[in-house]
């Protein structure tokens, strides 16, 4: 084993952002925005939304 390879630290896997539990606060955002949109539709701020 060369000196260089001996001194090189063994790479450890970098934790992917996908493996972090962070999706659950999204529910609150989705609920708030959905309710705001529902209010906007109810009070005709958004009228006849096309598709």
């Amino acid at each position: 084993m060369s000196k260089d390879s001996a001194s090189t630290p063994i790479p450890t896997p970098t934790p992917s952002p996908m493996t972090k539990e962070r999706s659950f606060s999204l529910d609150a955002w989705a609920l708030i925005v959905a309710m705001l949109l529902a209010l906007a539709v109810k009070f005709d701020v958004f009228k006849n939304v096309p598709w």
Partner: protein, 361 residues
């Protein structure tokens, strides 16, 4: 389902700056989704004008395909990443708003049937994946993650379980990659099989909701068949998602009993923490429509807003599917996942066909 979502997490102390960070990616999602919508109309109109027998390719498939091509051929600049990661937010927003298109009676009838089928599906999936994991000598916690991911709701369930059973990041990445790769495959196989079997919209939607693991892919697989099938797929998948807390709690208790995870002290708080709250929003919206809070035109508007939200989701599904990254994750977890998924797809298909014969879906 979950990914590196930047929207609710403050990366900077300035909220305006955080909001601005997602703008380029959201515009990209909207651009791809809208291009899919334009392609659907223009390709179909062109084929019709030339009297070609061309299959109707929905905007869902176009949006996913454009996203797939971009993410697998170009290096997407970092500038777009925070906005692309919001695709899960659009998915949840779309599901809550879709509640407006469900009559409460339908939710109770179809939800009741799907709840029964979900219990059977979860039991079969957990047993099958555990057996395959042992046969292929996978690490026990990786087997647990694959079992939870395939039984409940894909990536979200794996992420929820990771902390609860104290699994490695590496195991979680393997399980997520396997579930995502198989979810991408199901987008093309599920509709093709259903067309071959001449399944009706409700039966197919139920099958997509039960058989496809990740919520975004399950919704897309349903919408690829028809609008009605997409609605039922959302209902069945949402029912399945609601079970996440119970399954993760069971695994947390199992691993804590072995001394390899933290003990769960307050089970009710644990269940509430893991429960997907957007399911409540979906039910609330359906109830509001049931109590005639909205006029018929307003219900149509809410349904259309839901479709716009899903449009961004489908573009995100294509953009975050990187085939090169998935191929790096190793073969054994993928084989176990693939074998399990094929068997679960067959079993859930059998369940849905039986339910159709008994209850007439």
């Amino acid at each position: 389902m979950a990914s590196s979502i930047s929207l609710p997490r403050a990366e900077s102390t300035n909220p305006l700056l955080n909001a601005l960070r997602i703008v380029p990616g959201v515009l990209l999602l909207a651009g791809i989704g809208y291009a899919g919508k334009i392609l659907e109309h223009s390709v179909n109109a062109y084929a019709k004008s030339r009297h070609w027998a061309f299959p109707n390719i929905e905007y869902v498939l176009w949006a996913i395909l454009i996203g797939l091509v971009i993410s697998n051929t170009l290096a997407i600049p970092k500038l777009f990443q925070p906005g692309i990661a919001t695709y899960e937010f659009w998915l949840k927003l779309g599901i809550v708003l879709l509640g407006a298109r469900f009559v409460v009676a339908d939710v109770l009838k179809l939800g009741g049937i799907s709840l029964g089928l979900v219990f059977i599906e979860i039991a079969l999936s957990l047993a099958l994946m555990t057996l395959l994991g042992r046969l292929f000598k996978l690490k026990p916690k990786l087997t647990s993650l694959l079992a939870i991911g395939s039984a409940v709701c894909g990536v979200s369930a794996i992420i929820a379980a990771k902390g609860a059973i104290d699994a490695d990041d590496e195991d979680s990445s393997f399980a997520i990659a396997a579930i995502l790769a198989l979810g991408a495959l199901s987008l093309f196989t599920f509709p093709a099989i259903a067309h071959g079997l001449h399944m009706n919209d409700v039966s197919y939607g139920m099958w997509a909701g039960l058989g496809v693991d990740n919520t975004a892919e399950a919704v897309a697989a349903g919408a690829l068949y028809s609008d009605a099938a997409g609605k039922v797929a959302v209902l069945a998948k949402t029912t399945r998602n609601a079970m996440i807390g119970f399954v993760v709690l069971a695994y947390a208790l199992y691993w804590a009993g072995k001394g390899q995870a933290e003990t769960v002290t307050n089970k009710a708080a644990f269940l509430w923490k893991k429960f997907p709250k957007f399911v409540l929003g979906f039910l609330l919206m359906s109830l509001l429509v049931g109590f005639h809070v909205f006029s018929k035109g307003q219900v149509t508007s809410l349904g259309n807003l839901s479709k716009w939200a899903f449009l961004l989701t489908f573009a995100g599904v294509g953009l975050r599917t990187n085939l090169r990254d998935m191929s790096k994750q190793g073969l054994r977890p993928f084989i176990v996942g693939a074998l399990g998924e094929v068997l679960i797809a067959c079993l859930t298909l059998g369940l849905v066909i039986s339910a159709n014969r008994i209850w007439g879906l």
